[in-house]
Symmetry: C2
Subunit: 741 residues, 2 copies
């Protein structure tokens, strides 16, 4: 520990000297800002986060629940006390809840699935049975189906290819899939595409149960009866209320008929625990699954079909429910029409301590202390907006409806959107718009990790190097710069970033939490304070990190953007796709050769069914010239701008206003009004959730997904489209540079 | 199936034309040889293999058992009937059997491990309780120890490094290890090196049980009470009778006192089933194991120590037992003092159907049909020796004592040793001396795979390409040449190859057997004929493959060797070690840098114990010049010889005798009389079992293991030694070439 102390001392001594420079601030404003930040840090109290969490998690608080409304009002009251202008923005959305959930093995009365989690003495809120939503998948179809079962691993397209090669028929069957490996909504979507009539999703202990760590309540991991609730709406098409795409779901909004809403799942889907799944899995016959498909249950996993028929009957109340978004505003002293927005959702599937309250209470404490700073004389130039979203769990409902409802205003005013969600103990993670990468690096250099005393950045670097594969270490050693991830789906940035082109960041901590109870009744205050972030140590650290991000964005003389980071990242994406294309070409050629030599037939075990992969067309060469030229222009413009950027803080105020407007609106030029192929809601051309991965981001999705799907014509069209998009973006960068010349 | 038929036809039409040429034969002798081989194939009967197996597996037939002796006599009788000179070569060896096997959890009377496998109605011989050896590890120490338990994963050195990093103390504890990942004898050896007082080894279902396929008797995989017996003698030091290293264990041989025999294990060791292991694993506390250590039991695996004390008490009868090797000889017509030797062991741990009888019956049928050919006028030039070894399971006893006993004669006379052991359904596998690589490729080109109708070589190629990682396909596609593996330990070639320098091959089929019951009572006739090779289809194919190998070696005008294959292979080994050395250097430099930057301390979870790896000295640069020069000489000499090789069949008879003597004795020059560092029995400088892997081969072991162990001085010494060895070998190659000029 001696050596670590030395490092801490070094950091303490060196930081104040270095920290005089803050991106986007004049030297004197930087000094003031750092002083306010010091006071901000000092004001944050873990005990407050604890108190907020106790209230917010005291009862189940899903969409439409009494506690959900009470939580919105509780937060609204607090924000008001802290000096904010507060409104509760209400929307009316389609939110189905279970009327009947039935799962049987035909002719087997011994199979009595619980379909519920049990009450635990060690978990005080687990007994609130009457208030809990039972485990279900929101936006599943109503249905009553009886069929044999087939095991489809994660239920992604590659799994169905594997089944086809083994001659396993899915059509007319009910599929059973493991959670994980894709966003859950992909599983029934792909199942339905393959003709399955129903879908069961279960939590295998290999993924979040006893295989990973001791099960709750002895340890923190998912127990045998734990179930992951969650939405299966087809959000890669559009999130939010299925009845009001691209419109706020206000009381009098024009609505689709439910029968024509494209994002509602086409087949019935039910999530179950591994205890309930075990007898189903044991009924599967047929071949043994490929090694990578195995879970951790003490059985031989088979593909099926089962030797029994399974009866799945689901019916839902298709009600319109009210959403309560809390919107708390602190008007900017100089630029009230430039909004820096923070958001975290407040609805949970049940008591939702980790997800979402841990992030929500950090946001609240951030807002409280900023309110105190304001009372002490702090006057941020720009308007700060703190949002607590309702209905994130079912479909990012609250944030989507609000951004759709206010799209014109947000397009004009929103400078940036900073999202948080569940938070845990460990290492900083962040993703978002790459113009913010150097800015975010500056912040994590200046926030201290509470466990080791070094900066968040140093710790992230240490962990990245130590956890890296040995072959990758050489590249990582000495390179402390933290790359931002790209944002797909998974929380409330979609409306801001992907629909409206508002530059966004998402951040949080994790990696040292000891198990989670994601979307279960056990995601409780008791669980959180034992296993996720005892003492809210990282809750406070999250406040410090988001707080600095918000304060600097709100108060900077010139917005802290870096276009070269964006250029470099997009350039890497292009290289990735080209590499993927070449790999696909080679693999296709090789596979064709293997087919011609009949190697698949000769290699297979003649006692087992095995179909050679289907013949594939050769991969054409694509024209990349226009995109490469656009990248070159962007590179030149970005580098020119960044060379001039230092001068920006010395611009007269009027010049800064013009410059800042260009800087925060540049991201809008990455939108295309008609969006991505087959999903017009997603207008951003750089970041989108994968059509077949869901959470998983697809960068440059128009090109990348076309290449993956072998839509060669579409790939070429999207290369041209991307070139035009980048050209429009480059024009903004050039316009910004002109102001500095 | 239409297309496959076409391939078959093509092969049938093309083969006879191509096959006129046989390596080492004049054209006219080749035609005669191929005709004999055709008759040989036609004579082989699966039903005979079935009948032999029924007899040989009818009762347990381990060393010293009545059935073991009966089997030797049965085979001796048959070989005699088939026209062979037969002797039973008897040796007297130390072979411990259990007197007392006791395993308890101190203070827990509910824990009653079975330590036996149960009788199954579906397995007729499973009920021969009185004749079965119970599950035990031969050459375990006697012992009576009580201690806490620690889980050590596979029990190899890297696992102990991982435990040390987590602060888990092994000294004074009993370790529990999973089978697999190393030869079993390594586990107690490394445990003892780390101060453990006892060792338990269990079969995790992740490796050979329900995780892989349905358990016996429904499927072929190891059931919950299945146990793997086996030796834990320190065979990487020397195999065979521990009391008579380097000497045949004849009745009056000079013997070590048991207390000074270095290969007897120092601590008590017991193998158990997963059912017996489960309560022990559940008693382990401490940290959760690293992900790669998990098995497939429905528990959270912890490192320990346990919260209970385990009592392990083992006592053995340390008896001298007789071994019965069957040696059947067919004297060569022209060169009776040139011996081509085939061997398979006949002892099993229990009924031993797959291991070893499946290989033994193929050898027997090969011998029978060769006997028939001789009656029809076939006169192989060289002497054929068919061996059935006793005591392979405990320590390669029979083959080792015989080769030690006859080392002078074998050094003069042995042309090659062809080993087989357990055989199964599937794809050909082979390893051995690389001078035989083109020869073996010729053979597998001419033997037909019974399931697909293409050659063994085509099928091997198909499977290699299809199963390869996609990134490796490009290299493999179109390259049908089959590389021979290198031989470590695992069956009876050790005495021949590694002690005496007799060029060897080991071959068999596998990959499509449906589970095995390795070293269990369930390795029975019933299990074999259901799951391993129903109908002995691949038993007959093995006879065809080994038969051709033996017939051609016995009857060739000039021995079918290729020195360039040996050169290329050794050259690749040198490159591998150099690459490994550079990788070690880079990783050491990186780790040192990471230590200096304290990245290990900063990355770790402060709630968990984690020691940074110990400081390592920088990796020096080694001098490779002499070895590289020796390789260059070998390359030139080999290439020259191979260019002249075609002429060899046209040499006069006397010249061929001289040439053949050089060719088969060349391998002897790869021996060094004082053997490898710390294990003088292993004289071969190119192939040896790994000191810390056991089965796993280490090629160029003197250099490779020194590099792995960071014995830099020893590595350099062994580079020079290898250079000298290769130079001696090259001189033989040159001498052979001189005869052809």
């Amino acid at each position: 520990m001696k050596k670590i102390l030395l490092v801490v001392l070094t950091v303490c001594v060196v930081l104040p000297l270095r920290a005089q420079k803050v991106m986007g601030f004049t030297a004197s404003n930087a000094a003031k800002q750092l002083d306010w930040e010091k006071q901000f840090d000092a004001g944050l109290k873990a005990s407050n986060q604890d108190a907020y969490m106790r209230f917010l998690t005291s009862h189940p608080h899903h969409v439409g629940s009494p506690q959900g409304k009470a939580n919105a009002e509780y937060m609204a009251d607090l924000f008001r006390q802290w000096g904010y202008d507060v409104r509760i923005a209400e929307y009316q959305v389609l939110f189905p809840t279970p009327k009947l959930l039935q799962l049987e093995i035909a002719g087997n009365k011994n199979y009595k699935p619980k379909l519920r989690e049990q009450v635990l003495a060690a978990d005080k809120t687990s007994g609130q049975l009457a208030e809990q939503l039972p485990p279900y998948n929101a936006y599943s179809a109503d249905g009553d189906v009886t069929a044999e079962l087939v095991f489809v691993n994660r239920g992604v397209p590659a799994d169905y290819e594997e089944l086809a090669r083994r001659g396993v028929e899915v059509k007319g069957k009910i599929v059973i899939a493991k959670y994980g490996g894709s966003w859950r909504g992909i599983k029934p979507k792909v199942a339905a595409e393959h003709g399955a009539t129903g879908c069961i999703i279960y939590s295998d202990p290999a993924d979040d149960g006893y295989a990973i760590g001791d099960a709750y309540p002895e340890g923190g991991y998912r127990p045998g009866d734990g179930v992951q609730r969650g939405s299966v709406m087809d959000m890669p098409v559009y999130p939010g209320d299925p009845l009001t795409p691209d419109r706020g779901a206000t009381r009098d909004a024009q609505r689709l008929d439910r029968s024509e809403a494209p994002t509602i799942m086409k087949i019935p889907v039910l999530p179950i625990s591994w205890e309930d799944a075990l007898p189903l899995l044991q009924s599967l016959k047929g071949e043994v699954v490929p090694a990578g498909w195995r879970g951790a249950l003490p059985i031989t996993y088979h593909t099926g079909p089962s030797n029994v028929k399974v009866h799945l009957k689901l019916a839902f109340n298709w009600d319109i429910k009210p959403l309560y978004n809390v919107i708390a505003t602190l008007p900017g002293a100089d630029y009230p029409d430039e909004w820096v927005i923070a958001g975290n959702h407040h609805d949970g599937w049940v008591n939702g301590a980790a997800d979402p309250v841990s992030g929500m209470v950090a946001e609240m404490e951030t807002a409280r202390v900023i309110g105190e700073l304001v009372k002490k004389g702090f006057k941020p130039k720009r308007t700060l907006v703190f949002c607590a979203w309702d209905g994130e769990e079912p479909a990012l409902l609250g944030s989507t409806e609000w951004t759709e409802d206010h799209q014109a205003e947000l397009s004009r005013k929103a400078v940036a959107y900073i999202n948080t969600d569940g938070n845990g103990r460990g290492i900083v993670n962040a993703g978002g718009s790459h113009i913010f990468e150097p800015f975010f690096n500056e912040i994590i250099e200046q926030v201290t990790d509470p466990e080791t005393g070094v900066s968040l950045k140093e710790r992230k670097y240490a962990q990245t190097v130590v956890n890296a594969d040995k072959t990758a270490r050489a590249k990582l050693l000495g390179n402390k710069y933290m790359k931002l991830g790209a944002l797909g789906a998974g929380s409330d940035w979609g409306g801001f970033l992907q629909h409206l082109g508002i530059a966004s960041l998402n951040m949080g901590f994790g990696g040292e939490s000891e198990g989670d109870q994601y979307h279960s009744i056990y995601d409780s205050y008791d669980h959180f304070t034992r296993f996720i972030d005892p003492g809210f140590t990282y809750g406070v650290t999250l406040s410090k990190t988001t707080g600095r991000t918000l304060l600097r964005l709100a108060d900077a003389d010139v917005l802290p953007v870096d276009f070269t980071s964006f250029y470099k990242t997009v350039s890497e994406y292009v290289t990735e796709i080209k590499t993927q294309l070449e790999k696909t070409r080679t693999e296709t050629e090789e596979e064709t050769k293997m087919r011609k030599e009949q190697l698949f037939e000769l290699a297979r075990d003649p006692k087992k069914t095995y179909q050679a992969p289907e013949a594939k067309e050769p991969v054409p060469f694509l024209n990349w010239g226009s995109l490469e030229n656009a990248l070159m222009s962007l590179k030149n413009a970005s580098e020119e701008f960044q060379q001039l950027y230092e001068k920006a803080v010395r611009l007269p105020a009027g010049g800064q206003v013009s410059l800042n407007a260009i800087l925060y609106k540049a991201e809008r030029s990455l939108l295309q009004p008609d969006g991505l192929p087959r999903r017009s809601w997603y207008r951003h051309q750089v970041y989108a959730p994968g059509f077949y991965t869901g959470y998983g981001v697809k960068t440059l999705p128009g090109i990348r997904e076309a290449v993956e799907q072998r839509y060669w014509k579409e790939a070429q069209e999207n290369i041209e489209r991307m070139a035009a998009t980048l050209q429009a973006y480059t024009n903004q960068v050039k316009a910004a540079a002109v102001l500095l010349k």
